[in-house]
């Protein structure tokens, strides 16, 4: 058998589609080795939550397995893979109506004394990094430990930043 490392992703897909179960598994294994890290990074970027990214990662590769017969070799495998990954992410957010529902939730515990509209207005006036930090903490419900791993910052400084931002939101400085 030809060394799998020298095969293109499209050739590996053909082997995955048509060969014996053993050869098909080897082809899948090689594809997984080549692309899993990139897919995982993509998912982490989109989900910002390790356990959700893990779930979607499983779904993406399960979908690839179940849809392998739909793949046509004239298309680039990588493109097809990321279309599936993107679709899985969108499906996830759509199913939960995640952002809308949780954005409402964030206002309740910490800043219930503020008018909701004012709060949303204030939230949107934060810069991108500040908003992402608050979203990770209150929308994605990540722990400080998890956020510190993603952002590569210490837990202490994250706690300070979050509390400072919440104070700012309360007094309407932003």
């Amino acid at each position: 058998m030809k060394d799998l490392k020298h095969l293109t992703a499209e050739e590996l897909m053909l082997q995955y589609q048509t060969s014996s179960p053993d050869a098909a598994y080897l082809a899948f294994n090689e594809l997984y080795l080549r692309y899993s890290a990139r897919v995982y990074s993509f998912l982490m970027k989109k989900m910002r939550n390790a356990s959700e990214a893990d779930d979607i990662m499983q779904k993406v590769f399960l979908k690839i397995h179940e849809s392998k017969h739909l793949y046509k070799s004239q298309f680039k495998f990588e493109q097809w893979l990321f279309v599936i990954a993107r679709t899985q992410v969108l499906d996830f957010f759509r199913a939960k109506s995640r952002y809308e529902k949780r954005l409402q939730k964030i206002a309740i515990p910490e800043v219930s004394n503020l008018e909701e509209n004012n709060f949303d207005l204030n939230l949107h006036s934060l810069d991108q990094d500040q908003r992402e930090l608050l979203e990770m903490k209150f929308i994605d419900e990540l722990s400080y430990q998890e956020i510190s791993k993603i952002l590569n910052k210490s837990e202490v400084s994250l706690r300070k930043s979050v509390s400072r931002l919440l104070m700012k939101l309360k007094v309407g400085e932003v």
Partner: protein, 157 residues
Amino acid sequence: MNQVPEKLNEQILSMVHDKLKPKLSTLLSKVFFIHALTAVITLSLCPQFGFKLFRLDINLMHSFMGFGMPICNLLCGLFFTTTSALATVLILNRDEIRAIRFQNILFSSFILLSSIGFFLIMNPDLFLEFSLMWLLGAVLGLISTFEISNRVLAYQV
């Protein structure tokens, strides 16, 4: 770039491995169950060696007999196993069908031996009448159905 957790790698790879290589005992049981169910129907439409389960108006054996005894035997065997193989292809998933196709001899022998065993239990004299043409038709039916369906299912139909 984020590192994929080792546990997740193992989960995904073993999930695909298990799907591509289903357990032989499970697969044999499924095939046997489907074959047994299909045999009940086909035996009513086309009696094998005169063995009939239900009385239906349709009797394919009479039509096959028009081609002479050897051809009738061949067609009966072909019909009996092709119907079973087709039902198997319709019920099982793509990966299971692929696994069967790549162990064609094992699965074909299993279906044939269980059928012959059943016929022998029901009629011990059958062995004397056992036709090579029936066997040929049955083997042809199994191998060609699994081969063709696997090729068709590997790509989108």
